[in-house]
Symmetry: C2
């Protein structure tokens, strides 16, 4: 027998994608499935940025600079300035999606056996990137009854060990939609400074804040050496398939090391960098429309959920996700049942069991994540399905 | 002090790119630099595949399947059939360049501390990917006087340990241009079967063979479970900046594990997959023109090199690289000197010191790699520069 690697065996399968075969089977039976399970928005990719690629005069599609086209990085300096982040283009590295930025961060800063603390529930793929780097994820729990606010600092202090090297924060948050306040971000700063930790900050959703003010890890004073920002155009411009992200840090040593990983893979995707660069020149009010759209969707979704008996959904301050507590025995079973055994008016809804977003086994069993990436009509219809489903689900509690 | 990871420190800087600042300085002085240092061809990217992107009707640039668009994978089945490789689309995974295919291969099959054997000189970035996976590269030397033929099997046997897990082969080879014969590929098969090793096969250059017949690792009987093919459209269609490759294996367990890494990073670049898919429909004689062009360039380059006193360059059978032995003290110094202190008719040439392609310290000191990616006129002018340079280089031996 040929060996399969330990990390390959440890690598978790995608909790979001594991239900896909059931969704496909439902569709084959002629059932319409509303996809609230995955952060793939239906918002149009701005035609202007698609046109930029169409009009690009390319004779030879050459390798770009390993850090990405300088022209794009210089444009991003302008973009970041608008959101109060002051960096220069030598502190920005273009990556294959936000995913590669996370990989570069973990690979550059962390050794096998090191620990990183992440408030749970968290974006499930952090687990995979941690496995790639041989790093142990230490979850600390945030609770739905507190709206998934930052756990108290004492909870961080309790789990810090000599192997702790960093904290991962995502605000506005996937999967909870929670928007961290300035006070909470400053609490994270204090603990990072006290224990000499990196703050890995995933800010994929910064444009979509509905209540409260977005605070970047890059806004925190005294954290210049500690912050590794992991960014992407995927959600910002509804361009998930482009695979363009950014790794941003003022820590020169970290940047230079990450650059060696970037050089090994030669360059980030070429055509999509043109999209990213053109996006910075979109009109200043570009985000108003998608933001308003998401806000209306959130309002509808949260209202519909909280109107269902024994269902609770805190009102998320940003991103386009919400986690709801349902009166069910097991969210994995329930989400599968929705696809396999249920339909209402020949329709059903696909949700993500929240179990996949917790590091602590057993948590999230009565919670699901909903991505409000579909239009109002679809969300309403999906909520009709969920409401009916909860009435007849055999595992109702 | 915040920690920099061990692997980040071990990560080798790109041996090809480290001379870039000297080239930039030369250009600032008004000197024309012929870039024979890097595998970036001047061949036009087929306009038909660029047009496929321009004409694509995309409203929302969505995530693709984590394994890549099914339509593209099915097209690739046709492509592979033409080169005698019989796979189905569930054995193909689309990656961000060949680089990601190599990372997936190493991450899925190898544990930290495992060893892989690679005939040297070899593509330098294998080192970087090995560092990412915590794997030790064990080089065995091939020699310029044998034209960089496969080292004898006894050399492999000598370095095999209980930690040896695989062999990496690249044919036609980067950096030597050597094309492995059927006999040599079968020798690799025998050793892999005998010692239960993976054969990681990098076949980025299969279309460019000038003498002898291309033999894929996938052509070897009895190796279905052992072969991991790492492929890319970068060189095939002169589309290096697209960042589209493929990970291909008939080993279902390896594929399924690699799929978990693919899911963690969500999907490969979207726009460039359209290019790759369109490329399969290029006319059947598409490769004749670039192949003939490269052949003519090789013939000129090798002839010019061997006409210089005390210079020796074996005639490479494929790819678009050659390694030449020069009468010099130190190829790193020489290549830097070419950019920093030399010009002929206000021109100079940028070469890659071969030291960066050897795993054994001290080897390659009197060798350089030349990529014949420029047109005949440019190659001729670059050879004029090299000929003059060797006459006046202070470190001549």
């Amino acid at each position: 027998m040929l060996q399969i690697s330990e990390r390959g065996l440890q690598m978790p399968p995608s909790p979001i994608r594991k239900l896909v075969p059931y969704a496909e089977a439902a569709k084959k039976k002629g059932i319409k499935v509303y996809h609230l399970n995955i952060g793939q928005p239906d918002i149009e990719t701005p035609p202007a940025i698609m046109d930029a690629v169409r009009k690009a005069d390319i004779k030879v599609l050459e390798y770009s600079h390993s850090a990405g086209n300088e022209s794009y990085r210089k444009k991003l300096v302008e973009y970041y300035k608008r959101v109060g982040i002051h960096v220069d283009h030598t502190q920005i590295m273009i990556t294959a999606g936000g995913s590669e930025a996370i990989i570069f961060g973990f690979m550059s800063c962390l050794n096998p056996g090191d620990e990183i603390i992440i408030p749970e529930p968290f974006y499930a793929n952090y687990n995979g990137f941690a496995v790639m780097a041989g790093v142990r994820v230490v979850p600390i729990t945030s609770y739905i009854d507190q709206g998934f606010a930052l756990p108290p600092i004492e909870d961080f202090e309790k789990v810090i060990t000599p192997r702790t090297r960093g904290i991962v924060v995502c605000s506005p948050n996937n999967p909870t939609g929670y928007l961290y306040s300035r006070q909470e971000m400053e609490a994270l700063r204090d603990i990072c400074l006290k224990h000499n930790l990196y703050l890995f900050s995933d800010e994929a959703y910064r444009e979509f804040c509905y209540s409260g003010t977005y605070v970047s890890a890059m806004h925190l004073e005294g954290m210049e050496e500690h912050v590794v920002l992991m960014d992407t155009i995927s959600k910002r411009y509804s361009a998930c398939g482009a695979r363009i992200g950014a790794f941003v840090t003022k820590n020169r040593k970290v940047y230079d090391v990450a650059m060696k990983f970037a050089q090994a893979r030669l360059s980030p995707p070429g055509l999509a960098q043109i999209m990213g660069e053109a996006a910075v020149d979109l009109p200043g009010d570009y985000f108003n429309k998608p933001r308003t759209e998401y806000l209306n969707r959130r309002n509808l979704l949260v209202k519909r959920l909280n109107a269902m008996p024994d269902v609770y959904c805190p009102n998320p301050g940003g991103a386009f996700y919400a986690i709801a507590r349902l009166p069910i025995d097991d969210s994995d079973k329930f989400c599968q049942w929705l696809l396999e055994s249920f339909s209402f008016k020949n329709q059903t809804v696909m949700l993500a069991p929240a179990t996949g977003f917790y590091g602590t086994p057993g948590l999230g069993k009565n919670e699901v994540r909903l991505a409000y990436v579909l239009n109002l009509e679809a969300i309403d219809a999906a909520m009709d399905c969920l409401e009916e489903a909860l009435k007849v689900y055999p595992g109702r509690r």
